[in-house]
């Protein structure tokens, strides 16, 4: 009771235990700034209680002050300190001394608690800092991914616009070619029936080449295929009258279109005036492909009516020459041999044409 009165003024929570057992019960659930422990108690004395307090990890740090009336001699002091006492207070208790001693432990406890709180706060701040930084990092990554996505979309749209412009340009160019074909056909065939027949056949030949190129998705086509496609419908009855002979040669679309026109003009002429105008004449189409990437192509007619050099170059022969020189950077020579027309042509092979680029575009 004297102890209680002495400590009440400190304004701290006081917990009273009436036995060692009860004291240990309190210690199981609560933390304390200091334990004032009477040495002399029934059942379990103060030393034993102190040994339990020291043995438990959660209570080991709590300072113990022994209260004792009797044993002021050195052996008891030694026993008390070895049991874990940090101080001794002797009965009868001097309230002032007890209060100031306990005050020291209370202050110490409060300071420790404050330090622990500060450490905890610092730890939480640090964790928060880490979390915010991680969040920022992942936000930045997401932003970067979204920017990359937008850039990819923009690139795809730009690519599509380019393709549409390229297609638009091609259509206009093709219409211009058709116009030119009409005007030039009309210039050499003023009679309406002649014009209509020639013009429609020429457009048909262009269409066939385009269909072939479409099937190959505007990649390359074989020389043999373009020759067969252009000549086939002139040879419904006897296909053996036209012989094709040459190694595989892959032609870019520009070259294929030009040769389609050339084969059409040659075949038209052969059917009207040359080896295919009778029942027995033949045409031999042969080509070689040199190491220096030059293709030599020969059209040789045989067994037709006797051939004479025409007085002036017609549209067909001018077109053949122009396709070879202007379109293919090559050349063509028309030799009017008695036994049949021979046309010797040569041109370099160019692989990377704008059409190949367009095809790449479509494939993407």
């Amino acid at each position: 009771m004297a102890v209680w009165n002495a400590l009440e003024q400190l304004g701290q929570t006081l917990v009273v235990a009436n036995s060692g057992q009860e004291a240990l019960q309190h210690l199981l659930h609560n933390d304390f700034a200091v334990i004032l422990l009477d040495v002399n108690m029934p059942d379990m004395d103060g030393y034993e209680v102190a040994s339990y307090v020291r043995a438990r990890k959660r209570t080991r740090h709590i300072p113990i002050v022994f209260l004792t009336a009797l044993y002021r001699d050195d052996t008891h002091l030694l026993q008390a300190y070895s049991a874990g006492a940090v101080d001794m207070v002797f009965k009868p208790v001097d309230p002032l001394i007890l209060r100031s001693k306990v005050q020291v432990f209370v202050d110490l406890y409060l300071k420790q608690a404050e330090i622990a709180r500060e450490a905890e706060l610092r730890h939480r701040l640090q964790e928060e800092n880490f979390r915010v930084r991680a969040e920022k990092l992942s936000t930045e990554q997401a932003l970067r991914r979204s920017q990359e996505h937008q850039e990819a979309m923009a690139r795809a749209e730009a690519h599509q616009r380019t393709l549409i412009e390229e297609l638009n340009h091609r259509v206009k160019n093709m219409l211009t070619v058709v116009n030119a074909m009409a005007r030039q056909t009309l210039a050499s065939n003023p009679a309406p029936e002649d014009f209509s027949d020639k013009f429609v056949r020429r457009i048909d030949a262009l269409g066939r080449t385009h269909a072939l190129l479409s099937r190959e998705q505007w990649g390359t086509v074989q020389m043999a295929d373009i020759a067969r496609e252009s000549l086939e419908h002139f040879l419904v009855e006897d296909k053996k009258r036209v012989m094709l002979e040459g190694p595989p040669v892959a032609l870019d679309p520009k070259t294929a279109v030009a040769l389609g026109i050339v084969f059409h003009e040659l075949a038209t002429n052969a059917v009207k005036h040359g080896a295919l105008s009778n029942d027995s004449g033949t045409v031999s189409v042969s080509w070689t492909f040199n190491g220096d990437e030059t293709v030599e192509l020969q059209w040789q007619e045989d067994g037709g009516p006797e051939v004479r050099q025409p007085s002036r170059a017609g549209f067909g022969s001018r077109l053949i020459k122009l396709e070879l020189t202007h379109e293919l950077n090559g050349g063509a020579e028309l030799i009017y041999e008695k036994s049949g027309l021979r046309v010797a042509m040569e041109f370099p092979l160019i692989n990377a044409s704008p059409s190949a680029q367009l095809k790449q575009g479509i494939a993407q």
Binding site: E165, A180, R183
Partner: protein, 128 residues
């Protein structure tokens, strides 16, 4: 007194049939045709030796374009007309003021553009 020679028109167009058509249209109208050239290089080889009054330039020439040739020609006071399936925004800013004939072209539109260019050429050439 200017000479009575026909005006000389340079044609640069890589498509054989269109080149043939342009040549025929211009010759029928009484002009002398230089070319047709199928590339920038071929056009440059021609203007190295000749001085055309007017040049009709296809914008797309295979893998290259006619803008370099156009620049040289305008510096030499040859009147340039672009002939293209593209719109004017495809032209370099410095050349957007030059006349442009769209493909597919009507012969009379083409010949009108040539006649107008020749007037310009005569107006801007000092009389001897």
């Amino acid at each position: 007194m200017t000479s009575r020679r026909s005006a000389r028109i340079l044609v640069v167009e890589d498509e054989a049939l269109i080149a043939m058509d342009l040549q025929a249209l211009l010759e029928e109208a009484g002009y002398d045709v230089l070319g047709p050239a199928n590339s920038s290089a071929a056009a440059l080889a021609i203007i190295d030796k000749e001085e055309p009054d007017v040049a009709l330039l296809d914008v797309n020439l295979g893998r290259s374009d006619a803008f370099g040739v156009a620049r040289i020609l305008t510096e030499r006071n040859t009147q340039v007309i672009f002939l293209t399936g593209h719109t004017a925004h495809k032209l370099p800013p410095a050349q957007r003021h030059l006349p442009l004939v769209s493909k597919p072209y009507l012969p009379q539109v083409l010949l009108q553009a040539v006649a107008r260019a020749l007037e310009q050429r005569q107006a801007s050439t000092p009389q001897a």
